[in-house]
C-alpha cells in the first residue's frame, strides 16, 4: 500500500494523530473511504450470517404443524431480530459498503467530503448493532416485530423494545450523518467534466438513496423517541386512555418505512445497471429514463406510506388515494426492467457470476413487483395483508432483488477491492444454489398466504393444510444456507491467491477501473478529466464511420490493461502527481471515541443515569478532540 505523506510538524500530546498504515490500528483509526467500505462489508456480512441463522430457526419451527421446538417468547424475539438485522444491519450497511468504496472512485475523487465523519458513521453503526444484540443477554431481545406497532411495543414488560428504540436511534444517527456526507460528496467532488448526467447510474442511485435517508430518518427518529419516552418516562404518545393514538406510530414508522424499502433496493438496481452493460458489451439502454425513474421513485416514495395500513381503518378516501399513488410508483419501477432488457437485447452476453446475479435480480424482481401491484388492489389486500403472501412479496424484492444485486456487486468488484478474483466455478454454484433455494423458500409462501397462513405465528394446526408448502420452504432455506457457505468458502479461498490483478479485468466502462486493483490510498495519480458518460470505455473504444466499434489502442496494450499514466501503481508506492506528494487525511481516534459514547448513553437509559452522563462525556470528548486535533495538512 502506498505510504501517506505526513505533515512536517507533529504537535505532541493527546491530540497527536495516529499514523499507522497497516495492521489493526490502521483499520481502527482509518478515515479512508475504501477501508471504511470494507469494514461495512465485513460487518454487514457477519450480521447476514446471524440474521440468516435466525431465519433458519424460524423455518425449523414452521416446518411441520404444531411444533414446540421454540416457545412463543423466543419465537417472537427471533422474527423481530431477523427483520431488524436484515433491514438495518445487513442490506443498509452492505449498500453503504458499496457506496463508500465506489462513489469517490466513480466520480474521480480521492475520498469523501468528510472522512472522519465517514469513520464515525461506521463505528456508530457497529456499536448500534452490538448494542441491539447485547439485549439477548441483558433481559431479552426486541420481541414486538421489526415494525414495533404500538401499543404492544410500549406495554411489553421486557427490556427488548427499549433496546430496539435506542439501538435504532444510534443507527439512525450513523445513517443520517453518512447521508449528508455522501450526498455532498456526489454533488461537490466530481472530477472536472463529470456533469450530473455523465455520472454512472450507480452514483445517481447513491445520490437518491442519501436524500431518501436524510428526509425519512428524522421521521422515524421522532417515532422512536416517542416510543422510548412512553416506555421510559410515562408519556402518553400512544396511550389510548389519555387520548393518544397507536395509529400515529404507524404513520411515523411507515413515513420512514416506505422510503426505506427504496433505500434498500435502489443500490442493487444501481449495481445491476453497471454490471449489465459491461457483460453485454453495450451501454445501458435509456440512461436518462433510468435516472429519472430513480428520481421519480424517490419523490413518489414519500407519498405511498399508508399502503402498509390499508386495513387500519383510515377510511375509503385515504385508501383510494394511497392505492392510486402505489400504482403510480409501479410505473417508474417497472420501466427500469424494460431498460435492462433493452440493454441485453442485441448484446454480446457473457455469463460471468456478476451477470448471472444481475439476470437473476431482474427475474426475481419482476415477480416481487407483480405481487406488489396485487397488494395495491386494496380489497384484495384485505385478504393478503399480514399473511405469508406479503412475506413472499418483500422477500422477492429484498432478497431476490437487493441481496442478489449485492452479491452480483461483490463478485464484480471483488477484484478491484481485493486484487484477486473470486472463483467463477464456485460463483456459478453459489448463484444456482441460491436461486433454487430462494425460490423454494419463498415461492410457496405466495400459496401459503392465500391459503390462510398469517404472519408472525409460531405454529399452525394440521387442519389448515399448510404443512406441505411449509416443509418445502424450510428445505429451501437450508439450500440458501448451503449457497451462502459456498460464497464464504469462495471468499476465503480467494485470499490464498496472489494479489495480482490488472486495473480493468472485466473491460468495463466506469472510472474505478481506471486505477489499479486495489487502488492506491489516493485513488488516482491524477484526477481524470471527464468528457462523456462511460468515459473509460470511450478512451478504449471508438466508432468507425461504418458504425463498428473498435479498440482505440494504438500502442497495443490490448484489452483490459489500464492506460499508461493514470492510476498506474507507482513502483515506489508513494503517490506523486505533477511532481508533488498527494496529501491524504491522517487517521484519527476521535470518530471511534465519539461513536463509543452513544451505546454507553443507551445503557444508561436502560440501567441507570450515571452511564448517561458517562456516555455524554465520552461523545463530547470525542467531538472536541475531533474539532481540535491538527488537520491533515
Amino acid at each position: 500500500m502506498a505510504s501517506v505523506s505526513v505533515p512536517a510538524e507533529r504537535p505532541g500530546g493527546l491530540l497527536r494523530r495516529p499514523h499507522a498504515t497497516t495492521g489493526f490500528w490502521a483499520w481502527f483509526t482509518t478515515v479512508d473511504h475504501k477501508k471504511i467500505g470494507i469494514l461495512y462489508g465485513i460487518t454487514a456480512f457477519a450480521f447476514f450470517l446471524i440474521g440468516g441463522t435466525e431465519a433458519l430457526l424460524i423455518r425449523v419451527q414452521l416446518a411441520r404443524p404444531d411444533q414446540t421446538f421454540l416457545d412463543a417468547a423466543v419465537y417472537n424475539e427471533l422474527f423481530t431480530m431477523h427483520g431488524i438485522t436484515m433491514v438495518f444491519l445487513v442490506v443498509m450497511p452492505l449498500s453503504a459498503a458499496f457506496f463508500n468504496y465506489l462513489l469517490p472512485l466513480m466520480i474521480g475523487a480521492r475520498d469523501v467530503v468528510f472522512p472522519r465523519l465517514n469513520a464515525f458513521s461506521y463505528w456508530a453503526f457497529l456499536f448500534a448493532g452490538l448494542f441491539i444484540y447485547s439485549s439477548w443477554f441483558l433481559g431479552g431481545a426486541p420481541n414486538g416485530g421489526w415494525f414495533g406497532y404500538a401499543p404492544n411495543s410500549v406495554i411489553d414488560p421486557t427490556r427488548g423494545m427499549t433496546f430496539y428504540a435506542i439501538g435504532l436511534l444510534i443507527a439512525g444517527i450513523a445513517s443520517t450523518v453518512s447521508a449528508v456526507n455522501l450526498a455532498v460528496t456526489v454533488l461537490n467532488m466530481r472530477a472536472p467534466g463529470m456533469t450530473l448526467f455523465r455520472m454512472p447510474v450507480f452514483v445517481w442511485m447513491g445520490l437518491v438513496v442519501q436524500l431518501l435517508l436524510a428526509f425519512s430518518l428524522p421521521v422515524i427518529t421522532i417515532g422512536l423517541v416517542e416510543l422510548l419516552f412512553d416506555r421510559l418516562f410515562g408519556t402518553h404518545f400512544f396511550d389510548v386512555s389519555a387520548g393518544g393514538s397507536p395509529v400515529l406510530w404507524q404513520h411515523l414508522f411507515w413515513l420512514f418505512g416506505h422510503p426505506e424499502v427504496y433505500i434498500l433496493v435502489l443500490p442493487a438496481m444501481g449495481i445491476v445497471s453497471e454490471i449489465l452493460p459491461v457483460f453485454a458489451r453495450k451501454p445501458l439502454f435509456g440512461y436518462q429514463f433510468v435516472v429519472f425513474s430513480g428520481i421519480a421513485i424517490g419523490f413518489i416514495g414519500f407519498g405511498v406510506w399508508a399502503h402498509h395500513m390499508f386495513a387500519v381503518g383510515l377510511g375509503p378516501v385515504a385508501n383510494t388515494a394511497f392505492a392510486v399513488s402505489t400504482m403510480i410508483i409501479a410505473i417508474p419501477t417497472g420501466v427500469k426492467i424494460f431498460n435492462w432488457l433493452g440493454t441485453l437485447w442485441n448484446g454480446d452476453i457473457r455469463f460471468t457470476t456478476p451477470m448471472l446475479f444481475s439476470i437473476g435480480f431482474i427475474a426475481m424482481f419482476v415477480i416481487g413487483g407483480l405481487s406488489g401491484v396485487m397488494h395495491a388492489v386494496v380489497p384484495s389486500d384485505y385478504q393478503q395483508t399480514d399473511t405469508y403472501f406479503i412475506v413472499a412479496h418483500f422477500h422477492y424484492v429484498l432478497f431476490g432483488g437487493a441481496i442478489f444485486g449485492l452479491f452480483g456487486g461483490m463478485y464484480y468488484w471483488w477484484p478491484k477491492v481485493f486484487g484477486r478474483m473470486l472463483s467463477e466455478t464456485a460463483g456459478k454454484l453459489n448463484f444456482w444454489l441460491m436461486l433454487i433455494g430462494f425460490n423454494m423458500t419463498f415461492g410457496p409462501m405466495h400459496i401459503l398466504g392465500l391459503q390462510g397462513m398469517p404472519r408472525r405465528i409460531q405454529s399452525y394446526p394440521e387442519s389448515l393444510g399448510l404443512a406441505f408448502w411449509n416443509m418445502v420452504s424450510t428445505i429451501g432455506s437450508f439450500v440458501i444456507a448451503i449457497s451462502v457457505l459456498v460464497f464464504l468458502v469462495n471468499a476465503v479461498a480467494s485470499f490464498r491467491k496472489p494479489k495480482q490483478m490488472e486495473a480493468d479485468p472485466w473491460d468495463a466502462r466506469t472510472l474505478e477501473w481506471a486505477t489499479s486493483s486495489p487502488p492506491p490510498e489516493y485513488n488516482f495519480e491524477e484526477i481524470p478529466v471527464v468528457h462523456s458518460r462511460d468515459d473509460l470505455w470511450h478512451r478504449k473504444y471508438a466508432e468507425t464511420e461504418g458504425g463498428r466499434v473498435v479498440p482505440v489502442a494504438a500502442g497495443g496494450s490490448g484489452e483490459g490493461t489500464y492506460p499508461d499514466g493514470a492510476g498506474h501503481a507507482a513502483q515506489d508506492g508513494a503517490g506523486h502527481a505533477g511532481g508533488h506528494a498527494i496529501h491524504m487525511p491522517s487517521p484519527s481516534y476521535f470518530p471511534v471515541i465519539a461513536a463509543a459514547g452513544l451505546p454507553v448513553l443507551g445503557y444508561g437509559l436502560l440501567f441507570g443515569v450515571p452511564a448517561v452522563a458517562v456516555g455524554l462525556v465520552i461523545t463530547l470528548a470525542g467531538f472536541f478532540g475531533w474539532a481540535l486535533e491538527p488537520s491533515a495538512e
Binding site: 416457545d71 417468547a73 417472537n76 414486538g144 406497532y149 401499543p151 404492544n152 406495554i155 414488560p157 396511550d239 386512555s241 393514538s245 397507536p246 453485454a280 453495450k282 451501454p283 439502454f285 435509456g286 436518462q288 386495513a311 381503518g313 375509503p316 385508501n319 383510494t320 392505492a323 400504482m327 403510480i328 410505473i331 431498460n339 432488457l341 433493452g342 441485453l344 442485441n346 448484446g347 454480446d348 452476453i349 455469463f351 427475474a363 419482476v366 407483480l370 401491484v373 396485487m374 395495491a376 388492489v377 380489497p379 384484495s380 384485505y382 385478504q383 399480514d386 392465500l450 390462510g452 398469517p454 405465528i457 389448515l464 393444510g465 406441505f468 458504425g547 463498428r548 466499434v549 473498435v550
Partner: protein, 380 residues
Amino acid sequence: MRRRTVVVLGLVALALVAAACAPNATQSALEPKGPEAQKSYDLFVPVFWVAVVIFFVVEGLLVLFVIRYRHRKNATRIPPQVHGNTRLEIAWTILPAVILAGVAVPTIATIWDLAAKPTGDILEVNVLGHQWWWEFDYPDQQILTANELHIPTGKPVYLTLCAVGFGYGAPVPSEGGPPAPSACQGPPDQPPPAAIGASVIHSFWVPELAGTQDVVPNQTNHLTIQADVPGVYEGQCKEFCGLSHTYMKFTVVAHTPDDFQRWVAEQQAPTPVPEPGSDAAAGLEVFLSRLPSGGGCTDCHAIAGIEGPNGQPILNNGGPNLTHLMSRQCFRGCTLATTDANLRRWMEDPSAIEAGSFMPDYGLSAEQLDQLVAFLNTLE
C-alpha cells in the same frame, strides 16, 4: 431442447397449481363463501391473470434475449452501442400506466362498496378483541359470548370492531368493575374505562367470508361479513398482538335463519341452577369464592343470572362470559375443544397452555377442579 424445457416447465407449473388447491384448506382466501369475500376474490383473479401474462412476457423476453444474444466462441464483434430509443421508452412507460388505470377503476369502486354500511335487514354484532381471545356482543339480542360468532346465512352481518383488555399495564381488578361498553363506545362525556387503556391492535380475519379489518384501540372499525351456506368458518387474529397472537382464533358458525333463531333462544335461556349437594353446586361455590391464593373467578368471568359474592350481578368481562359455555365447541381462543379434560387442564395451569396468560393459576386442588368442571358442565 428449448421446446422440451418449455413443456417440462409447463407441467411443473401445472403440478404446482394443482397442489396449491389443497382441498382441506379451511382458511383460504381463494374459496370465498360469501359475497364480501367474493368481491375481494373477483378483483384478485383478473389482476392475477394480468400479472401472469406480464410475467410470461417479461420473463420470456429475458430468457429469449439471454439465449439469443449470448456470446458465441470466436466472436469478436462489439455490439453497436445503442443508447436508447425514446419513442419505445415512452411507449413502455404509457402501457403499464394504462394497464394500471384499468386495474384502478374496479379497485376504487370496490373500496367504496366494502366501506359502505349494508342496508336493509342486517345483524349487528360488536366484536371485542382481547389479549388473546375474541368476544362477541349482540346488543339487540342481549347476548355476550366468546370464541364462536354465530350468524344466520344470507344476511349481511355488520361488525363493529373494538380492542379491549387488561394488557400488561393494568392489574386484574380485585372487585367488580365496569362492563365492556356496548357498541364499543364508553359514555361520551367520560374517559374510557381503564380496562380499555392497555389494549393492543388486533385484526379480525375470517378469509372465507371477508377480508380483514384491524381492531384498533380507541377507534371503531367496521367489517361486513356474510355467509351463503351454513357451516363453520375458521378465522384468527392477523395483527401481531403479543405472546399468544398465534392462538387468538375464532370460528364463525353460520346457521340457516331458523337455526339461528334457535341458537339465539338457547343463548337467552336462563342459566340452570345446579342441584344442591351435587358436585356442580360445590363447583359453583368454588366459582364464587375468594380463593386462598387471592382473587377468584368472578374477578373476570360473568355468567348471566348468577350473582357475585356480594349478591350483585357480575359485571366483569376481563375473561370470556361463561353463559352457556358448553354450547360452544371451542374455548381458549378457540384452540381447545370444550371437553372436560381440556377444561381441567386449562384451569389447573393456564400459563402452560397460553404464554403470558392473564388467567392466574389459583392453585386449585384436584377436588376443586373436578367440582368446577362439573359446574361448568351445567352451563349448556
